[in-house]
Amino acid sequence: MAQVKIHTFDAVIVGAGGAGLMAALYASRSANVAVLSKLYPTRSHTGAAQGGIGAALANMEEDSWEWHSYDTVKGSDYLADQDAVDVLTKEAINTVVELEHMGLPFDRFPNGKISQRRFGGHMSKTTGRPVMRACHAADRTGHMILQTLYQQCIKNEVNFFDEFHVVDLIRVDDTVRGVVAIEIATGEFHIFHSKAVMFATGGWGRVWEVTSNAHSLTGDGPAIALRRGIPLQDMEFFQFHPTGIFKLGILITEGVRGEGGVLINGEGERFMGVRGYAPNVKDLASRDVVSRAIYLEIKAGRGINGQKYVHLDVTPETVNRYYEEDGEDRRIDRAYIEAKLPDIADFTRTYLGVDPVTEPMPVQPTAHYGMGGIPTDVHGRVLLDAQKNPLPGFYAAGEVACVSVHGANRLGTNSLTDLVVFGKLAGKDMANYCQTAELLPLPDGAADDVMAEFDRIRNSGGGVKTYEVRNKMQVSMTENVSVFRTEETMKQALEDLEALRDEYQKVEIQDKGKVFNSDILEAWELGCLLDTAEVTTVSGLARTESRGAHARDDYTERDDENWLMHTLYYKEGDGYRLDYKPVTLGRYEPKPRVY
């Protein structure tokens, strides 16, 4: 075996998005930490987040963390763990303030406080209407969070290993000993030997064809964990955001509707209200509800010109007309849109030639966010089973983790909150762990398994191309496991995935070199995508109910009697095993969801 370079740290954080950077800031205070990222940190997809970060600051109107908790639990279709949700919503307030103290340039209200806007599913108990809870910086809130955290990491001299692609976790029985990574610029394998490891690798939206997610979001973290015997939780719940740009999937933030934008079908109806999907809050219902409504409108032939999209209209003319109809005093104009939604305007002008100030935007649901992931507690500690036994020293935070605060459907703005709140708690806990934990020896040949897999890919000669397999997977998952699914479609997906697994073995790459060999890395990532697609489908097929983002045409009702529990998927040899763990309830008893 070739030479493997070995580095030693107290802790290794994999991923430099919002979650990884927040954890790094905290963990680095007392521990010697390395942050590994396959992208330059500022290229992480947190930078794409647009609309806002949720916290009940009550800067413009009455609000409370309890209301935020209730909305989150209701949004989750009661699958979220309510104790964890309380931590999220309480800590949100301090943590958003802390971001401001780090210099984050939030927009401001005239009184100088952080500006907040409305978002789907966030409600005022007093008025019964949407509440202004989404703290934002124009429509580039994620960009500002990512930049601010990275800047603070520079200030605090955090150790970065940029463009290091992590490909394995070193686990020996119930301990972790580090990770194996490829230095992309040289193709060399490195071992990072450590007492603790955190995965903060983000999402896996590239499983689907139309997605808001970056090319890099290939589910590496969940796939590696799975291969090392760690279960994945609630993977059947994947959010389809209602408003992606038609065909491209680029996200149009819910903030557009928060600023008054409305959804219109081919018959010119504001269908969320008129067609009874959400008579009360209409366009600001939670995402699963709106995505299903769009899907059903299109299916009923009420897309625009019978096509597979509807319109999202934020032109001042339309918005003001509906404000007037709804008895609201607010009015908006061109300057307001340009100031509050500059990036959205730029996207639609660039990619569609559509000016949102004068024309509606064509939108369709887009694969967006994984509610499931690696199971953790509120301190980011990874849990191995239904009894919540931890794998000491292994942590996860951010989108890759399932705490679970999002349950079956995440509310908008709650992911950014999740990143910083649980990134912080996990970073702190990991640093504490490193104070007392010992550095356990590396096992012999710690990198051998994954190096063998890379040799296999490098030398495989079946003539199949990575993108062909990936496209087929994306098409099948979009057909069969998206906004709606049934037993039949999910079985079809599993059949397709099995065939694709065989094809995957025949993938033949062209680049046999070492320097920046993205050919081989893309092939390896495809293996991760196939794993996550499979877990999603198997978990979904087993769950014979509809809940949140998991909407089945053959089991249309939520079934609390049998299914108020989290799915755990374990890989076992070539097969799998499913287990279930109870949901932690609290103040809020499951009830039917009406918006």
Binding site: D107, Q151, I250, F347, T350, F516
Partner: protein, 239 residues
């Protein structure tokens, strides 16, 4: 529609110098981005082609290349912007002034080091407000540096600047943009430290206001204006 692509190629493990690779793609669409085309080359024709990319919609800053002679993000540049008719000719090469590692990939470290040299992080050691809440800032104060908060560190500006090409020690427009973001933030307390860096021999005075940077910026930041504002502070001592 057909695209005739010329892509600058260089593989350090094989080639002694760079060369142009030529590729023809059929059935392209005016709405395809240059990144879509590069992906087609990489995925369908030559898997060895190396480029950075991630978000595919102009927000991560990975794919600034020199496209038909001008710096742009590949994912934000549609074919329709480069030509019409049956055949479009598109030339893609790495941004200039940074060492080429492989094909379209350059060494970003010198660029990042210039960025880091301006202390691109918030500095305010005063105690936070006693009520445990955010510092206040007026909308007017916030607006002063709004434009320069948009930077995604793509390097399109710095690598289009003749002053940077002439002397790589010039910190370049991107670093100045990021210094501006803090110098003009009413909450920040260390403008003089940054002004010392940008006012140095390799700072703003190297700027000859030729506007390449402003034209190159995919985030439409008015870079030359920001540089002028920093120069003015240096000249007058007033922020």
């Amino acid at each position: 529609m057909q695209a005739q692509l010329r892509i600058r190629r260089y593989n350090p493990e094989k080639d002694t110098s760079g060369y142009w690779g030529e590729y023809t793609l059929n059935n392209i669409n005016p709405n395809d981005s240059v990144l879509d085309l590069l992906h087609r080359v990489k995925w369908e024709i030559d898997g060895t082609l190396a480029l950075r990319r991630s978000c595919a919609h102009g927000v991560c800053g990975s794919d600034a290349f020199r496209i038909n002679g001008t710096n742009m993000l590949a994912c934000k540049t549609l074919v329709s912007r480069l030509g019409a008719g049956e055949t479009v000719k598109i030339q893609v090469e790495p941004i200039l002034g940074l060492r080429v590692i492989k094909d379209l990939i350059v060494d970003m470290e010198p660029f990042m080091n210039h960025y880091k040299s301006v202390l691109p992080y918030f500095i305010n050691d005063e105690a936070a407000p006693e009520n445990g809440r955010e510092r206040l800032q007026s909308q007017e104060d916030r607006a002063r540096f709004d434009d320069t908060t948009k930077c995604i560190l793509c390097a399109a500006c710095t690598t289009s600047c003749p002053s940077f090409w002439a002397n790589e020690r010039y910190i370049g427009p991107a670093a100045i943009v990021n210094a501006h973001r803090f110098i003009f933030d009413s909450r920040d307390q260390a403008p003089e430290k940054r002004l010392a860096v940008v006012g140095d021999t390799f700072g703003v005075w190297r700027c000859r206001t030729n506007f390449n940077c402003t034209n190159a910026c995919p985030r439409e930041i008015e870079i030359t204006k920001a540089i002028a504002e920093v120069k003015k502070v240096l000249a007058t001592g007033e922020i």
